[in-house]
């Protein structure tokens, strides 16, 4: 496969094993290390937030203090020291934000170029509006004009707090309450930035919205918060990509994403997560504890989560759908690849509340090296959810004999008209398939990459085109050195 080869070559040129492992040297403004109410006040003041939001943060913080870090996932790691983290870091130049891309710190732009997301290029070629989150502050937002004409709001969440307080008050924490879980509570207390999207009634968002998250500063946690509201009969597709530089210590990432789909609206949320996974010996890497949840509040609303998880040392993530509206639809398509010492415990929850709701779960887990990969999912049908449909397919692929692949589904049904189907398989790449590819002239890594891509195809097909290519390359890179 040519694309894999080409990518591999590029990787070797750029940064050895981890393509995005470089550090940008920019002066940063930081809050003091550690967490207390003063740090939260500092963050809130820096962002010139209204009082209600500060109160909301403090309430979340006080609740967080009473909570314990969960330990039910099949993850083995040293619990982070929450007092040894910077909760606020922003490029100094952000105090006077650039008016256009030309004014953006050239060092930053070079970073994005290395990431392969040159803003100008994307602006021109792909027509993608990019809201780039660089550590904690949104530094450049493009295409806002075009979107504004349609009435679409696409801005940083800090801006939204100032400019759209009514919507923020109404929806923030309405899907993931501040005290929902340990990491969500922490995020609610200290979230520094993120994205806010509102698509008005009847509007089909004219372009894919995209945010590139990136953790740069050493010892910073990243706590972004995303809130997307699709009003009646609207449509939006949102892309999220994540990378982080190589560092020896573990960095914490605890994000919260809330989606609200109103009547007959559709939200498509795609993630390619490629945080630094740590080195071959399991040193360093991102701890990725993310709470993503969608509320399908309106009749016939639809939310589709697609994720390709190739990075992070630890992944703890369950993008979920609360299917409240009658006839609402939830989808979860996931590829999770773990190699070396990576551990992932990921899956979804589909909570069927409304009538005629349906959900689809397709999960493909690939485990190589010494990695552990767990699918954990819940399909729950409440007593009044008539005619619910769910189909779940979880397949695991093992590469090598030192890794593990686990499937932990929960099915809970309280309505007799439900039709729930769950299937799961675990196997390794068959010798026959491998030899067949080899006999046709592919080398071992190409063969594995090809077979794995085939294995993941149902999920990859869900990704928007420009993401799919990148994701396909990532599969190959992630599995490098896993065979032979």
């Amino acid at each position: 496969m040519a694309s894999t080869l080409e990518t591999r070559k590029k990787v070797e040129e750029v940064a050895g094993e981890y393509k995005y492992g470089f550090v940008t040297d920019i002066e940063m403004v930081k809050a003091p290390k550690g967490l207390n109410e003063d740090v939260i006040r500092f963050i809130s003041a820096k962002k010139k937030e209204p009082q209600w939001l500060l109160d909301w943060r403090l309430k979340a913080y006080r609740h967080w203090l009473t909570m314990e870090e969960p330990d039910w996932a099949m993850l083995n790691y040293k619990k982070p020291d929450f007092q040894d983290i910077y909760y606020y870091a922003a490029p100094k130049s952000s105090d006077d934000r650039p008016k256009s891309l030309d004014e953006v710190d050239p060092e930053l732009l070079r970073t994005y170029e290395k990431l392969g997301i040159s803003l100008q290029e994307q602006e021109v070629l792909a027509g993608v509006a990019v809201d780039v989150v660089f550590d904690s502050v949104s530094v450049a937002t493009t295409f806002r004009k075009t979107l504004e004409e349609k009435g679409v709001i696409f801005c940083s969440i800090s801006e939204a707090a100032q400019e759209y307080p009514d919507m923020m008050k109404k929806y923030l924490g309405s899907v993931v309450p501040a005290g929902d879980n340990f990491y969500a509570a922490l995020n609610s207390a200290v979230f520094t930035d993120g994205t806010f999207v509102y698509v008005p009634k009847g509007v089909r968002c004219p372009m894919e919205l995209s945010t590139y998250f990136r953790i740069n500063e050493a010892n910073t946690g990243q706590f972004e918060r995303t809130l997307i509201i699709a009003d009646d009969e609207s449509y939006v597709s949102y892309l999220e990509g994540c990378t982080a530089p190589m560092r020896d210590e573990n960095q914490l990432h605890a994000a919260v994403v809330e989606l609200i789909a109103l009547e007959k609206s559709e939200i498509k949320y795609s993630t390619v997560q490629n945080w630094y996974p740590g080195d071959k010996d399991g040193k360093g890497g991102i701890y990725n504890f993310v709470t993503k949840r969608a509320a399908c509040r309106g009749k016939k609303s639809k939310v589709s989560w697609t994720q390709v998880e190739t990075g992070s040392a630890i992944t703890w993530k369950y993008p979920s759908c609360i299917l409240q509206g009658d006839g609402s639809v939830g989808e979860f398509y996931s590829v999770a690849i773990t190699n070396n010492h990576q551990q992932a415990d990921t899956g979804t929850k589909m909570i069927h509340i409304g009538k005629n709701t349906s959900s689809t779960i397709i999960s493909k887990g690939i485990s190589a090296g010494k990695a552990q990969n767990t699918y954990r999912g819940l399909v729950k049908v409440l007593p009044n959810a008539e005619n619910t449909r769910n189909f779940t397919q979880c397949d695991s692929l093992l590469i090598g004999d030192e890794c593990g692949a686990h499937t932990v589904p929960y099915i809970e049904v309280k309505n007799p008209t439900a039709q729930i189907e769950h299937e799961a398989t675990t196997s390794k790449i068959s010798e026959e398939q491998l030899f067949y590819c080899l006999q046709r002239g592919l080398d071992v890594e190409e063969s594995v990459s090809l077979i794995v891509n085939g294995f993941c195809k149902e999920v990859m097909m869900q990704l928007p085109m420009e993401f799919a290519v990148e994701a396909q390359k990532l599969l190959g890179i992630s599995l490098e050195g896993s065979v032979g």
């Binding site: 496969m1 040519a2 080869l5 068959s430 010798e431 026959e432 398939q433 030899f435 067949y436 590819c437 080899l438 006999q439 046709r440 002239g441 592919l442 080398d443 071992v444 190409e446 063969s447 090809l450 077979i451 891509n453 085939g454 294995f455 993941c456 195809k457 149902e458």
Partner: protein
């Protein structure tokens, strides 16, 4: 120079001796047929030539165009120009025939130090080959062999062979399970591979295929050895008299 030279080849699978001293020389331009009862080691021979894992060469040598073939990886042997038509072509879910072939061709070209085949030329080529072999182009978009009937799988092998354009083709029971029309198409595909500087090894249980692909030499493999060699009349004699007719107990093999 001989194209393929097999000398005193001994092969074990799971510690069991399957091939016990095969000698076979194939020159450019020749078509050889290997026949033999079930369990004689016919498939083992094809796997050993192509380097399948688990087929341990305990003695002997395989030389291809002067190169020690046993030193090469399976994909390198493919890139040297050897194609194996599988008795049971493998299903690869999610990988379309198109992508599979494109990847294979470019990988082989890379091995040979050639540039990648431009996408347009690839498409032109595959359309032409599909038409020649009477294959529905829709089939090329489907996953490799997934959900294909026995005949479709064999036709798919023929397309792959035509696209990869090997100099030496090994066809392992390619005729099994085919109706007469499919057999004709497969035979046609094989005959297209004949040429002055090319060679073919047809492995078959029945002589039926040899009516369409006329061999220059016929060998009978039994009990892990080539016990008899001759021209195409040997195949006809086998058809008429059975293995017992040439002194082989089919069940004992």
């Amino acid at each position: 120079m001989a194209m393929l030279e097999i000398k005193n080849l001994h092969v074990e699978v799971d510690g069991q001796k399957i091939l016990k001293g095969i000698n076979l020389t194939i020159n450019p331009g020749e078509v050889h047929a290997i026949m033999g009862p079930n369990g004689a080691g016919k498939s083992t021979l094809s796997y050993a030539i192509c380097g399948k894992e688990g087929y341990e060469i305990t003695e002997g040598s395989v030389t291809f165009n002067g190169k020690d073939f046993l030193e090469l990886e399976p994909h390198e042997r493919a890139a040297e120009g050897v194609f194996l038509g599988f008795q049971y072509p493998v299903e690869i879910p999610g990988v379309s025939n198109m992508n599979f072939l494109k990847a294979a061709i470019n990988s082989i070209r890379k091995y040979r130090g050639e540039d990648e085949l431009p996408a347009v030329e690839f498409l032109k080529l595959i359309r032409a080959k599909a038409a020649e072999l009477e294959v529905d182009p829709e089939m090329l978009k489907r996953s490799v062999n997934v959900g294909f009937s026995g005949g479709e799988k064999k036709r798919n092998e023929m397309i792959q062979m035509a696209m990869l354009d090997p100099i030496f083709s090994v066809l392992d029971e390619t005729d099994s399970g085919l109706d007469i029309d499919a057999l004709r198409i497969v035979a046609d595909g094989i005959n297209r591979m004949r040429g002055q500087d090319k060679a073919i090894l047809v492995i078959t249980h029945y002589q039926r295929l040899l009516d369409y692909v006329v061999p220059d030499f016929v060998h009978v493999l039994a009990g892990g050895k080539i016990v008899k060699s001759g021209d195409k009349s040997l195949a006809l004699k086998l058809e008429k008299d059975g293995y017992a007719g040439i002194g082989i107990d089919e069940n004992a093999a």
